[in-house]
């Protein structure tokens, strides 16, 4: 079913996406559009990782915004309050989030079923409370200010255009490593677990270990996204990393199409741009989300990428039928 996207279209789509994103800032210098695309990219990084957990390992997490938050706050506090180098504080932030993921993974991923979803949901709520509670460090509900910009070989990435290129460099890297992972024996083991974990275990796959690693991987990518967000916005609040944000990440995965990198980009892009397009009617946003989810679930259970693929398959089948009819006439 995935053959067409695998073989013919895929390199083309990447070429279009890459060249478009490289050229975009040259003719579109308006900050608003650039920053929208930056948010798309930040979400895309988190969604790429979450897709490995959801579509490959078959586990749902409702706490990935919390990992973004841990990354963002750790990096933000270290660089803004203690004067650490932003790159170093980013690395520490990502390590901290990874450590949290590790601790959560040990008890929850040994169990089967929806324990991870419930545990991460609780984790997300607790982390948001903690972001407010430690207000001496985090600034509480009024947020953490003055997070410094990242710099690259002495060039401060304090403009939209500069940060845009850095960010999409990160996105490209995330696509590359996620793709490698998905296409490797590691990805294969995760897909086997998703299909039937008992069977996978009997085939020699260490199921808890692989699920744990998939979870940690997704949490690490989410925290990278979070740290990038912090150093781009220079200002974060607990509201950026709540339960709703976690759910939006899951929606992006489901909408875009499970298990493809293009789907992750699409899902992140559409859900990020949508609220901007619906600026006029704040309540309408929720309705539109709801309608989208219902429609996708009903008509495209494999997400947009799967849906497009299905349409291509149908057209191809019709073509073959037509050709057979034509051949029949000449026979």
């Amino acid at each position: 079913m995935k053959n067409v996207l695998n073989m013919n279209l895929r390199p083309g789509i990447y070429l279009v996406v890459i060249s478009f994103s490289l050229i975009f800032p040259l003719f579109m210098t308006e900050t608003y559009y650039l920053s929208t695309l930056i948010f798309c990219g930040i979400n895309a990084i988190a969604v790429l990782g979450l897709d490995i957990l959801i579509s490959y390992a078959g586990q749902i997490s409702l706490g990935h915004a919390a990992f973004m938050g841990i990354g963002a706050y750790t990096s933000g506090i270290l660089s803004a309050k203690y004067g650490y180098n932003p790159w170093l504080s980013m690395i520490i932030g990502v390590s901290a989030a990874t450590a949290f993921a590790y601790v959560i993974a040990i008890p929850t991923l040994r169990l089967r079923g929806y324990f991870l979803a419930i545990a991460t949901l609780g984790f997300c709520v607790i982390m948001r409370v903690l972001f407010v509670f430690f207000h001496n460090l985090t600034g509480g509900v009024s947020g953490l200010n003055d997070i410094p910009s990242l710099s690259f070989f002495g060039i401060s990435l304090n403009t939209e255009v500069r940060f845009y290129y850095l960010l999409w460099g990160f996105v490209a890297l995330a696509i590359w490593i996620t793709n490698n992972l998905a296409k490797s024996g590691f990805g294969r083991a995760l897909k086997a677990i998703e299909h039937n974990d008992i069977l996978a275990n009997a085939r020699g796959v260490d199921v808890p270990k692989y699920k744990k690693k998939a979870f940690i991987y997704s949490a690490a990518l989410a925290s990278i996204a979070g740290t990038l967000y912090a150093h781009y916005m220079h200002f974060i609040t607990p509201f950026n990393f709540g339960l709703m944000e976690s759910i939006m990440l899951v929606v992006m995965v489901i909408l875009g199409g499970m298990g493809t990198r293009i789907g992750a980009l699409l899902g992140a892009g559409i859900i990020t741009i949508l609220p901007e397009a619906l600026r006029g009617m704040p309540e309408g946003e929720t309705i539109v989300y709801g309608v989208i989810i219902v429609l996708v679930m009903m008509f495209m259970p494999a997400g947009l990428v799967g849906g497009v693929q299905k349409i291509i398959d149908i057209i191809k089948m019709k073509n073959e039928k037509m050709q057979n009819i034509v051949k029949g006439q000449y026979r």
Binding site: S184, G185, A189, N201, A202, R203
Partner: protein, 253 residues
Amino acid sequence: MSELLLKIEEVSKNFKGVQALHNVSFELVSTKIQSLIGPNGAGKTTMLNLISGIFPWDSGSIYFKGANIKNISPHKITGLGMSRTFQGGGLFGNLTVIENALLGFHSNYRPGLWSSMLRLPSNVRQEKKAYDRACELLRSFKLEDKKDMPLEKLPLSEQRLVEITSALAIQPSLLMLDEPSAGLNDTEIHDLIDLLFRIKETGISILLIEHNMDVVMNVSEKVVVLNYGGILAQGTPGEIQNNAEVIKAYLGE
């Protein structure tokens, strides 16, 4: 040359008060084909699930290559050199033919997170090696042309071969097959019997659960009969065929 490969000692298993197996003991000597037969519900598949570590058992011991495998997780038991197929097909419908076969190499080569995501040379090399070996195995089953096909496009008999390929990729010393002939026609069953002998010749022992008595009597050196969770009889196919108890259990009174 033959050594004790599998030893079942007084194993019992209850499922919420229902006694599935009661004090079952038997042995399996290497490079033999041994069958486990019995009427429906006799506990054959349960026995296989206990041996492969899917369920824990209540009392008794199971030794594989001399090691007690109580409470060892299935992937570790697989790593010791035991693999199995499942009744009704233990395949991964979301993977292609070759991906199913490749999965069998997991117990020997465990792809790590870092090496996979960075495509380190070690990972690429391992993957290539597994891929070549998987192709080789599929070629021996005349399935190489179909390696990139989704599983559902294959007829049942070929799907079964894919599952056996995947189980053989583990390079097991013991291969356990749960009703491999179910749903196959006469020609395919004939091919299956050939295949069982071919596998045995490579030095792999087989524990076979089977309903088709032609297959059982043709291939086995030893037959163990289970009935109501206990051992009814064990012996050579000839002995079993003439055993009055066995005939009674199968035909009723």
